[in-house]
Symmetry: C2
Subunit: 420 residues, 2 copies
């Protein structure tokens, strides 16, 4: 491997010279604060730029692996929280660039010091790591003097028909979404951020995802979910700036006064959806396709030929009824049936061992970024919860909403952004 | 991507022509039974040969991802079990070659048929998938007329000091180890085999691993475990045929009479080891290195310079004591201190969400292949359980032993091999 690894970044010398931009970050974490560090994907195809107008990990070409963690703040001291967010910024930028969490790292502090990086990513590629932060409604409950800064749209999601939510897999004061090509890189990032927060934050829940279920750029092929269907064909794409502004990015007019920090950000809806794959797997192909409203093989809307053909809800099938049944998933979730509502999906498949009853505990960890969850996700999910025949096969077992702030300028950090 | 995917295999035509050997398997599952199918890694770098003197997935260059499942047999009918093992053989061979679980597959049976493949791997590469089968002691308890065929060495592991085993993560009548470059390929394989066994077998426990912790060939770099240390440096390598015969493969003289089917196989020890990473992460580097007995950065035995230097247990450190402490992990586990005992390790890191107490539930899913677990793993683990300082940081929470039969000849299958 000639490419940069965390170790060559750390050691400098010949390795660092070869590693180019990423090595610069490896040398001097604090270089970040003067804006001199701007790793670009042109310089290293394994590095996603950390700073910019938007947070990485939202429209970034979806990496294949995910580690997502929701945390609760356990200190009462706003200064501790703010300081942690500032330190997280430096560490996240470093790890994104392929460096260790701090300049001292796993072995740089001498024998009698506690290592500052846990070391399991020392020899691994940067892996297109992105670290995306979000804040839950509960963070603005007054404990930290942030009540006035809560954006109006950051309020808990309502209950939906059929929800079977586990409180231990729902909510959270904060979240970190780490996506990478290599799960060990994503796990390393989350673990080291969690570790920096000992005594300040505590893990509330955590979810690994092993297969993305959406494409976020036109170049990405549509992957399949655990029902075996292509998922996310109609997703908003990173190239569609107008659609992103309309459906994903919080606009300046959406937030005012103390909540203006959220302009340019996006709301993240997380739903842990258990799939009853054993039941699904006993259904005939026609039932599966009519439940989804798409052909299984190529992903075409029923009655059409190709994956990216627009669904035609007026077309009739052989029996004279609509080719796409009135209760099919694609019909109910389609923007034409939801007053134009669209969302940016970024979900992952998961398998979390067995359920104790002889089955695999598997499903979809649904992630979506939206401009306003209450105007987009809520009406969509209400329509689906009421009528979607897919509900026979799925169960929502976890739910959370987070406000993901905009990206950071060269001299900014998450602590200052949230508190200043 | 010009390489073969499950879909091009399925569809045949131009895709199949380009796919070469793998496409041959895709066409005709039953071709396997006449021995005409012999996919080789030379023909397709993503395909590991399924048949041979040994099962794949033991000395195969360790893939980065794992899905392991332990199953209990819930039928009383030996014929059903035997038939399932025969059907599993065909499906495992097909999926290994990049094809769907059956020739009909996800979409080949027509609208009104239940699909025979779950479809989520349709567009994915073969991914060096290996499927390895093993049989637990309980399978030979008399329910299936197999009592006489139990190899003497296939008996439950003893309890070890400090074990905190969860019965719901231990034992099992059968196991399937699926390893691949892509976790979705491994999960797909396990899921489809489990699905074929509805009413015959039931999932007892299941474990995903995201990062291998050992090299099984000389060409593989040593990866790191979640303590941040290189793990498996001293592993037996696939190129060392003499060591494999001595330590890994069951020799003909080891088994006799009805148990002779196990000659050429290997015993698989599975231990789910929870790592208390928060405690570890608070230890100074010197404590960590003296606990392991190796340098963290390059992995050299303490007192030596390079990763692959042999440990020298006589060398003294600066304080006049041994450079490698008497209770260090590498000393206790080293063959020179265990009457020559060695094992073939094939473990994986895991993170299974959170533990409900603010921490990540993370650790090492230890897998080892041995010629006789009671003569190799048991004395090693007794020495470690008694004295290893690493015990301050780890806890064994799951345990199982399986007999993995030898590989299959061209006309053989797992059902015939076990029952005939």
């Amino acid at each position: 491997m000639a490419r940069s690894t965390r170790r060559s970044v750390l050691l400098g010398g010949a390795g660092a010279a070869a590693a180019g931009v990423a090595a610069g970050v490896g040398w001097a974490a604090h270089a970040a604060s003067d804006g001199s560090v701007a790793p670009t994907s042109a310089a290293d195809p394994g590095v996603v730029p950390f700073r910019g107008a938007r947070q990485a990990g939202i429209t970034t070409a979806a990496q294949d692996r995910l580690h997502f963690v929701a945390l609760d703040v356990i200190t009462d001291d706003p200064a501790q929280l703010r300081d942690l967010l500032t330190r997280w910024t430096r560490a996240a930028e470093r790890m994104t660039a392929g460096a260790e969490a701090t300049p001292i790292g796993a072995v740089g502090g001498g024998q009698w010091k506690v290592p500052e990086d846990t070391g399991e990513a020392l020899d691994l590629e940067p892996g297109h790591l992105t670290v995306t932060i979000g804040y839950g409604p509960s963070l603005f409950d007054g404990r930290f003097g942030l009540a006035g800064r809560r954006p109006e749209a950051l309020r808990d999601l309502p209950a939906f028909v059929g929800d079977d939510l586990d409180p231990s897999k729902s909510g959270g004061d904060l979240c970190i979404q780490a996506c990478a090509d290599d799960p060990q890189v994503a796990v390393h990032a989350v673990r080291n951020l969690v570790r920096m927060g000992f005594g300040i934050v505590s893990v509330r829940w955590s979810q690994l995802g092993f297969g993305r279920t959406s494409s976020t750029t036109q170049a990405q092929k549509t992957p399949r979910n655990l029902f075996g269907f292509k998922d996310g064909t109609a997703n908003i794409k990173a190239e569609d700036a107008a659609a992103l502004d309309e459906h994903v990015w919080v606009q300046p007019a959406d937030v005012s006064g103390e909540a203006a920090w959220m302009a340019g950000g996006s709301y993240l809806v997380a739903r842990r959806i258990r799939m009853h794959i054993e039941v699904w797997d006993r259904s005939p192909l026609a039932d599966q396709e009519q439940t989804i409203g798409r052909d299984k093989k190529v992903g075409a809307p029923l009655g059409r030929d190709a994956e990216f053909d627009e669904p035609d809800f007026a077309v009739t099938g052989l029996d004279g009824g609509p080719a796409i049944p009135v209760d099919a998933h694609v019909r109910l979730a389609h923007h034409s049936n939801l007053d134009g509502v669209r969302i940016l999906r970024r979900g992952y498949n998961f398998t979390d061992g067995s359920d104790g009853q002889g089955h695999l505990d598997a499903g979809l960890f649904f992630l979506a970024f939206v401009r306003d969850a209450h105007r987009q996700f809520v009406p969509m999910q209400r329509a689906l919860a009421r009528s979607d025949v897919l509900n026979e096969y799925i169960e929502h077992t976890g739910s959370a909403l987070f406000a993901c702030p905009p990206g950071l300028a060269a001299d900014d950090d998450w602590g200052t952004q949230l508190f200043a």
